[in-house]
């Protein structure tokens, strides 16, 4: 049934041709397409749309402007849906959130009977002793808190985000905004207008609903805009945040648009502000603008017999709209001695509507169950604004419309760092200082009359155009509001009994604020945190102003002295999905990635890279796979993709000098064709990276860096080159080269058939570097010893990587070649005692602690970190990295990396690397120990899982092949393979 639907309105939003059926709290309802949930329900006579946060009091339509946070529903899919701005969907089934047993029967409504026990901040004063009981109380309180419930079934939304650009963004498509956009566009600027409402027009669409001249104005504005190619209007789009350099978050139903605007005009209008009186929260009490929205947008009769509480001419206009809508007016109650002009009163005299000047509503009287109101208590107020209760009288009504003043929607201005100042004349905040290239227009500037708003919009449009260099013409002076203020300075009428609400989101009452002040929370920020006023989902848009006024009054201050809280993003709450968008996760693959996939590799992340960790054969476990790979390399031959290594070319006359300043070693005397280990420290002497430098020519070095360090190393190289004025040419070729390490006794035999480079020991000794052709591709070969076998690191331009890998695997088939991964390499290098920066060193390791003294040439004139190392050298060494083994017959639990070295009750170090070495058939590792534990043969204790303690012995590294014979020995093709 559509009880309260009015005949068609001039600019209504509903489509009477399409009725929509939906369910609310289990009951079926009908509305028209374009109805919001609240309007459809209200039209069907439903008055209780939700319950309040703390006391579970019934609540109805209040603002119908995206602030009705008590009218929040869930539809079985998503939650916290705001009924006052969300259109009804056919077949949807809505439930009010935060009820226990449904909206009507909500058992939590009984909490209100306890409300005397639950004054402001009650929860700070109880439940904490005895301590063991608090978890019980906390569970109870948490269960009461919160609005909607999550839906763990909901799939992740990957809604696209996009970027956009314009000269001028106009926020608000009301009279000021529309006229601003026209003025700006006329200068040639590109203009985007956004408005959170479904349709443009702002107040023109509801406040001036029945004003013919306003209607004509609106038509003119829209006509003009549609004729301009450089103005775009995005409705149902909200400017949620205004960040540095006019970076604006625009939110619509599907996406976040990140807009870069040259200038921003905030023409977002005002929020109508409530009056504070007893039961001012119950269904039927609403802002006059809400009543007007109901009538003009949805053609819904707000109530049958109403009272209008006014303090401005807007209230009288609203009262007329109500009359026209067939609402019987029990009275107009005007807080002022007299209205602006006698004309305002005449229509009501004609309609015999009593008008009570200098009266206030002292209380709304509610029906049983508080699910609506049945009347109001009205009483005169004295010149001080106090209610004269002995002369109070009652009137019957089922609705109260409140029109006592406005506050600017200045959220964006505050976010951008603008300052608002309270005008004691206009009783509202006005812009005091605006950020660069941000402008305000219309009612945000306190300009209320339609023609003045249009003029002010025009001014702002021209000013904005000038700010982006589009307009060199004059910019008119800003218009000011004329006549009396539409804002009442103190629309607050306390009642000794019962509840008068200041913040409906949080159920904060008048007395809560007074009591908080009594307890010493007497600054607005403390009040906010103690009473939670303004902390709810509507961020105090309808609460903060009255809160500040009450605080000011209580402390005998002016509003200006009292100050206000800072409003932060977002303007309205924004979904995670919108903010996350697709959330890109860039990742890097080597040229041989598909080969690894085909070989069944298990991948591991290394920075942005995916690297093969190991290659399990069918049915093979992790550890077996890794051990098998180790064996293959030691006894046969293996191939590992090392393409993720950083690769940097350092060229130019100063190349060698440059490396000597950057790294701890010496490079000047290196012969072309040789390589040398590199160690890098930061200025505090901490080890940060390592690699190999291969000298290709007098003026050209090929330098490797760790996978995760590469970018930073290259970046710092560039910076030092600038600071030192070095004559070097640098290139980060990490991604340009594919790289693989062919390692194992048979490596040379395999490679020999694929390259023109002479491989015999004399022509290409250990630690040599050569350039030539491998498998038809231009290649750089390095004989390096990281895994401790005869081996060749082969670098080719990455597009050849796959081909060269394939050819080596084919060529190696006869040798039983297998690919091996990072895990096997870790064991292989550990057997050789090679450290991994970042695993065997930490954020404070000096080369001396890491046992890298040999790589540090302190007698050089300079290198980064040298001066700090001189200081560190003078200090006793606290810890040392040593190699250790467990007894060969050890059978207990194997230590893990980062298990601690314990002496008595002291931590003296930790294990940094440990593994069972298949080659040496025992557990070995590296560990930091106290200096006095670091001598060869010293025994120390490692605490392993289960607090067991294991004794380890310090031994010399490398553990395996100490004199590195195997790196030069060559092994001929095995007989069985030959056969």
């Amino acid at each position: 049934m559509i009880r309260d639907r009015l005949p068609p309105q001039p600019r209504e939003w509903i489509d009477r041709g399409r009725t929509i059926d939906f369910q609310f709290e289990g009951g079926s309802c009908t509305g028209f397409a374009g109805d919001c949930i609240s309007s459809a329900l209200w039209a069907s006579g439903v008055r209780m749309l939700g319950r309040s946060f703390k006391y579970h009091r019934p609540r109805g339509i209040y603002s119908l402007a995206n602030h009705d946070v008590n009218d929040v529903v869930e539809d079985g899919v998503t939650t916290n849906i705001r009924a006052d701005v969300t259109q009804i969907c056919s077949g949807a089934s809505y439930q009010a959130v935060n009820t226990f047993g449904g909206l009507k029967k909500d058992s939590a409504r009984h909490i209100e009977h306890l409300s005397r026990m639950l004054p402001v901040g009650f929860y700070y004063k109880a439940f904490h002793t005895p301590r063991k009981l608090f978890p019980y109380w906390e569970r109870k309180m948490r269960a009461m808190a919160g609005l909607g419930a999550i839906n763990p079934k909901l799939p992740r939304a990957r809604t696209p985000k996009d970027y956009d650009f314009c000269d001028v963004l106009v926020v608000g498509a009301g009279p000021a905004g529309l006229s601003a956009s026209i003025a700006a566009a006329e200068t040639g600027a590109s203009v985007l207008v956004v408005d959170e409402n479904l349709h443009p027009g702002g107040t023109l669409g509801y406040q001036w609903n029945s004003d013919a001249s306003a209607a004509r104005r609106f038509a003119q504005l829209m006509g003009k805009i549609s004729s301009m190619p450089n103005v775009w209007i995005r409705t149902a789009t909200e400017a949620a945040g205004l960040y540095a350099d006019n970076w604006v978050a625009l939110i619509d139903s599907v996406r976040l648009t990140k807009l870069r605007a040259g200038a921003v005009i905030v023409a977002a209008g005002c929020f109508e502000q409530p009056a504070v009186f007893k039961n001012n929260d119950l269904p039927g009490v609403m802002l006059a603008s809400a009543a007007q929205r109901l009538i003009a947008r949805y053609a819904v009769k707000p109530f049958q017999r109403g009272i209008v509480l006014v303090a401005n001419s807007d209230g009288y206009c609203a009262a007329q709209d109500l009359l026209r809508a067939g609402v019987q007016l029990a009275a107009i109650v005007d807080l002022r001695k007299s209205p602006e002009s006698p004309e305002l009163v005449q229509p009501f005299n004609a309609a015999r509507v009593p008008i009570f000047q200098q009266h206030a509503i002292y209380q709304a009287r509610h029906a049983s169950g508080k699910q609506g109101i049945i009347g109001a208590v009205i009483c005169p107020i004295d010149d001080a604004g106090k209610t004269v209760t002995e002369r109070a009288f009652k009137l019957e009504c089922d609705g109260i419309a409140v029109s006592v003043g406005w506050m600017p929607a200045d959220g964006l201005i505050n976010q951008a760092g603008g300052k608002m100042k309270y005008s004691e004349q206009l009783h509202q905040y006005l812009p005091e200082s605006l950020p660069e290239k941000v402008f305000a227009a219309g009612r945000v500037n306190g300009v209320y009359h339609l023609e003045a708003q249009l003029a002010d919009g025009r001014r702002a449009g021209l000013a904005a155009a000038a700010a982006v260099g589009r307009n060199n013409g004059p910019v008119p002076e800003q218009a000011r509001h004329e006549g009396p203020s539409p804002n009442h300075p103190y629309p607050v009428f306390p009642h000794p009994k019962g509840k008068a609400f200041v913040d409906l989101d949080e159920d904060v009452q008048y007395k809560d604020i007074v009591n908080a002040v009594q307890e010493g929370f007497d600054s607005i920020e403390l009040i906010k945190r103690y009473t939670t006023i303004g902390m709810g989902p509507s961020q105090g848009k309808l609460a903060n102003m009255n809160g500040v006024r009450i605080l000011a009054k209580t402390r005998h201050q002016t509003v200006t002295q009292t100050g206000t809280t800072t409003s932060r993003p977002f303007y309205h709450p924004v979904p995670f999905g919108h903010l996350a968008g697709r959330s890109f996760h860039p990742h890097r693959l080597t040229a041989m990635h598909s080969r690894h996939q085909k070989a069944g590799a298990q991948f591991m992340p290394a920075g942005a890279w995916h690297r093969p960790a190991y290659y399990p054969a069918a049915g093979q476990g992790r550890d077996d796979a890794i051990l098998a790979e180790v064996k293959t390399v030691r006894q046969g031959v293996g191939l590992i993709d090392v393409g993720t290594l950083g690769k940097i070319e350092v060229c130019g006359p100063d190349a060698a000098e440059f490396l000597e300043r950057l790294y701890t070693g010496r490079f000047a005397k290196m012969r072309p064709g040789t390589t040398r280990y590199l160690l890098m420290c930061d200025e505090s002497g901490v080890v940060i990276d390592d690699g190999v430098a291969g000298r290709l020519a007098e003026d050209r070095f090929y330098v490797t860096a760790t996978t995760t360090g590469a970018d930073a190393v290259y970046r710092e190289m560039q910076r030092w080159a600038i600071i030192w004025g070095s004559s070097v040419t640098l290139a980060n070729v990490t991604g340009q080269y594919a790289a693989m390490n062919l390692a194992g006794p048979y490596s040379r035999s395999i490679l020999a058939n694929l390259t023109d480079i002479k491989l015999d020991q004399d022509a290409f000794p250990y630690l040599g570097i050569r350039e030539g052709v491998v498998a038809g591709a231009p290649a750089r070969l390095m004989r390096v010893g990281f895994v401790g076998e005869l081996g060749y690191e082969i670098h080719v331009p990455s597009q050849f990587g796959g081909h060269v890998w394939d050819r080596i695997m084919q060529q190696g088939a006869g040798f039983g070649i297998k690919p091996f991964g990072v895990e096997a390499q870790r064991i292989l290098r550990l057997e050789k005692g090679h450290i991994i920066i970042g695993q065997d060193t930490d954020g404070l390791s000096s080369p001396y602690e890491a046992g890298m003294d040999w790589a540090v040439k302190m007698d050089k004139p300079f290198f980064v970190g040298q001066r700090s190392l001189q200081i560190i050298q003078k200090r006793p060494l606290q810890r040392a990295l040593v190699g250790f083994t467990l007894p060969t017959d050890y059978a207990g639990p194997i230590p893990k990396e980062c298990h601690l070295v314990i002496r008595g009750d002291q931590i003296t170090g930790r294990v940094t690397s440990v593994a069972f070495s298949p080659s040496l058939n025992r557990v070995l590792g590296l560990a930091y120990v106290a200096k006095d534990q670091s001598g060869l043969g010293t025994k120390f204790t490692i605490r392993v899982d289960g607090r067991k303690e294991v004794e380890a012995e310090v031994v010399k590294t490398p553990f395996y092949d100490p004199d590195s014979r195997r790196q030069s020995e060559t092994v001929e093709k095995p007989r069985e393979a030959a056969a």
């Binding site: 970027y163 060229c651 040419t729 990455s798």
Partner: protein, 222 residues
Amino acid sequence: MTTASRQSPMHDALEHLHPRWGQVNGMSAVASFADPQHESALCRTLALADVSALPRTLLKGPQAAAWIQRQGLSVPPKIYAHEAIPGGGLLIRTGAAEFFAEGAVSGDAVERLAGEGATLPDGVYSFPRQDAAMLLSGEKSFDVLAQTCGYNFRQPEMDFIMSRIAGVSCSILREDRDRAPLFHIWCDASYGTYLWETLLEISREAGGDAVGMSCFFPTAIK
């Protein structure tokens, strides 16, 4: 001289789309995925192509400009200026002493610039550029870029920039072909597969699709 076969960084991603393969400079390159008429139509609305097969090099060093001049090419006067290479290709100045050259499907200008088979003079160093190279073409390419890059590509002065697309550092050059917007996109080969799949997904949502190199080099693909 190299005899090895090259592969696009996106080779496997392309393979999944069952393309018609051709050969460009010893690299298997996609000639087309679908009917050529359809693909050239897509190029006007929204199309994404892999052109990694084109030869490329990076020249750096104080003498680089002089060397380029000696190869009979005109040196782009200022940073990010670019010149066409006679017989096809581009030469972009990417720094005071840094030049990026991309050749066409034929010709050896790039190889000569890189000093292949010769030795470069002092003060000139050439480095391989194995980029993942793509062409994004058509009116709607603006929508794809608007979802992935914070740069305003509609501003008239847009020519060559280095920026980020979907979180990856890229070089981007606008070079419209018969009045349809065309963007060259180059990024590090290791990001190629990620960037290709990301741009293709977004392009398809916008009604576009992948196309082969034939759209842009009609005769050249063998």
